[in-house]
C-alpha cells in the first residue's frame, strides 16, 4: 500500500500563496500536523452544512496520522487570515481544500477534491475560488488531466459556483452514480476473497 504524494519541492513551493490582492493578504499554506485541529473543526462545520454531522467519525488524530509522512493519503491547503482579521470565535484558519490523486484508465492522472470549505463569515471574498484554483494548479503541475469532486443535488449555491467555473455534472449528464460498500457489507465481501 503506497499512496501517492507530491514531490517535496512542489509542496514547499505551495507553502505560502497570496490569495487576494487586497491591503490585507490572505495566505494559503500547506498545513503542519498541529493545524489538523483546525481542519477537523472545519470538516465538522462542512458536515453540519451538509446536514450530516453524525457521519463524521474521524478526528484530528487520524488526519495527523494519514496526511503527513512519506506516504500521505491526502493533501490539504488551508486559507489563513492575519490575526487582526480573525473570526468572531477567534480563528485565523478560515477555509481549506482537501484532495488526493486518483487514476482514470481512460485519461490517466486525476485529482479528486474531497472537500472545499470556507467559513460563512469569509465567503464572497474569492477564498473558495482561490483554494480551488490552487488545487487545479497543483493538478496541472502533477500532469493530471481532470479535477473531480462531488456535490449534493440540493446544494444549489455550490452547484452554481462549480458550474460557473466550467465543471460538468456527470450524474445529470451521463448517469454516473456513486456506489459504496462499508460496515458489515464490506467485511462480508472481503471474507469471500480467494
Amino acid at each position: 500500500m503506497t499512496p501517492r504524494h507530491m514531490p517535496i519541492e512542489a509542496a514547499q513551493s505551495l507553502r505560502y500563496m497570496t490569495l487576494l490582492n487586497t491591503s490585507r493578504s490572505l495566505v494559503g499554506l500547506t498545513p503542519k500536523p498541529e493545524d489538523c485541529k483546525d481542519i477537523a473543526r472545519m470538516i465538522m462545520e462542512l458536515a453540519v452544512y451538509e446536514k450530516m454531522p453524525d457521519q463524521v467519525k474521524i478526528s484530528h488524530k487520524e488526519l495527523e496520522r494519514d496526511g503527513f509522512g512519506p506516504n500521505p493519503f491526502y493533501q490539504c491547503l488551508v486559507a489563513e487570515v492575519p490575526e487582526d482579521h480573525k473570526s468572531k470565535d477567534g480563528h485565523t484558519k478560515v477555509g481549506y481544500a482537501l484532495f488526493f490523486y486518483t487514476y482514470s484508465t481512460w485519461k490517466g492522472r486525476t485529482v479528486y477534491m474531497e472537500d472545499l470549505y470556507v467559513m460563512p463569515e469569509y465567503r464572497g471574498k474569492g477564498i473558495g475560488k482561490a483554494l480551488m484554483a490552487t488545487v487545479a494548479k497543483v493538478a496541472k503541475e502533477q500532469h493530471c488531466v481532470r479535477l473531480q469532486f462531488s456535490v449534493l443535488d440540493w446544494n444549489k449555491p455550490s452547484l452554481d459556483f462549480y458550474l460557473a467555473k466550467g465543471a460538468e455534472d456527470l450524474t445529470a449528464k451521463e448517469g454516473w452514480h456513486f456506489l459504496r460498500f462499508h460496515g458489515i457489507a464490506l467485511d462480508n465481501l472481503a471474507l469471500e476473497a480467494p
Binding site: L147, S150, K165, E168, W176, L191
Partner: protein, 160 residues
C-alpha cells in the same frame, strides 16, 4: 479454476481497454502504476492454460484500484475498473476480484470501498446491490462533478 495475481508491468498494460476514448498508453500505465508511489494498483484474474479463451488468453479479468480519503471516515479504497471477459462471466470471477480489493483495502485500514456505475447499466447495478452495497447518489443525492480541458486550464490560471 482461476487465480488472482498482482500483475507484472507488461500484463497490466496489455489489459488496457481498446476504445476511441482511451487517451493513455501502455507507457503511461507502466510509469504511473509501477513507480515508487504508484497512482494505482491492479489485480488480474488468470485461468489455467487448458481453460484459456477462444483467442488464447489466460488473463481474463482485472480490477484497478487506488487509495483515497474521506474527511468523515478516513482511509478508503476506490475501484476504478472491474472487468471480466464476456466468455468467463457468471463464474464468480468478478466477485472474487472485488472481494480481493476489499480484503486488501481492509488490511490497509480502509472503511469504505467506493466506485461508480452508470444508471442504465442494470446488470452491473444489480450485481453490486446484491453484494450489499448502497447507491450514494440515489440515497443521499451526491452528484459526480468534473473539470477538464479548457475548464481545468482556466481554473488553474485563476482566469474566471
Amino acid at each position: 479454476m482461476f487465480l488472482l495475481s498482482n500483475p507484472s508491468q507488461q500484463e497490466l498494460a496489455e489489459h488496457e481497454k481498446v476504445s476511441d476514448q482511451v487517451k493513455i498508453t501502455q507507457k503511461d500505465l507502466e510509469q504511473d502504476g509501477f513507480s515508487k508511489n504508484p497512482f494505482f494498483h491492479g489485480i488480474i484474474a488468470e485461468v489455467p492454460e487448458h481453460l484459456k479463451s477462444r483467442d488464447g488468453h489466460t488473463k481474463v479479468g482485472y480490477s484497478l484500484y487506488f487509495y483515497t480519503y474521506s474527511s468523515w471516515k478516513g482511509r478508503a479504497v476506490y475501484m476504478e475498473d472491474l472487468y471480466v471477459m464476456p466468455e468467463f462471466r457468471g463464474k464468480g470471477i468478478g466477485k472474487a476480484l472485488m472481494s480481493k480489493v476489499s480484503q486488501l483495502g481492509l488490511a490497509a485500514g480502509c472503511t469504505q470501498l467506493n466506485f461508480t456505475v452508470l444508471d442504465w447499466n442494470k446488470s452491473s447495478l444489480d450485481f453490486y446491490l446484491k453484494q450489499g452495497c448502497w447507491d450514494v447518489t440515489s440515497d443521499l443525492g451526491y452528484h459526480c462533478m468534473r473539470c477538464e480541458g479548457d475548464a481545468l486550464e482556466n481554473l488553474a490560471q485563476g482566469d474566471l
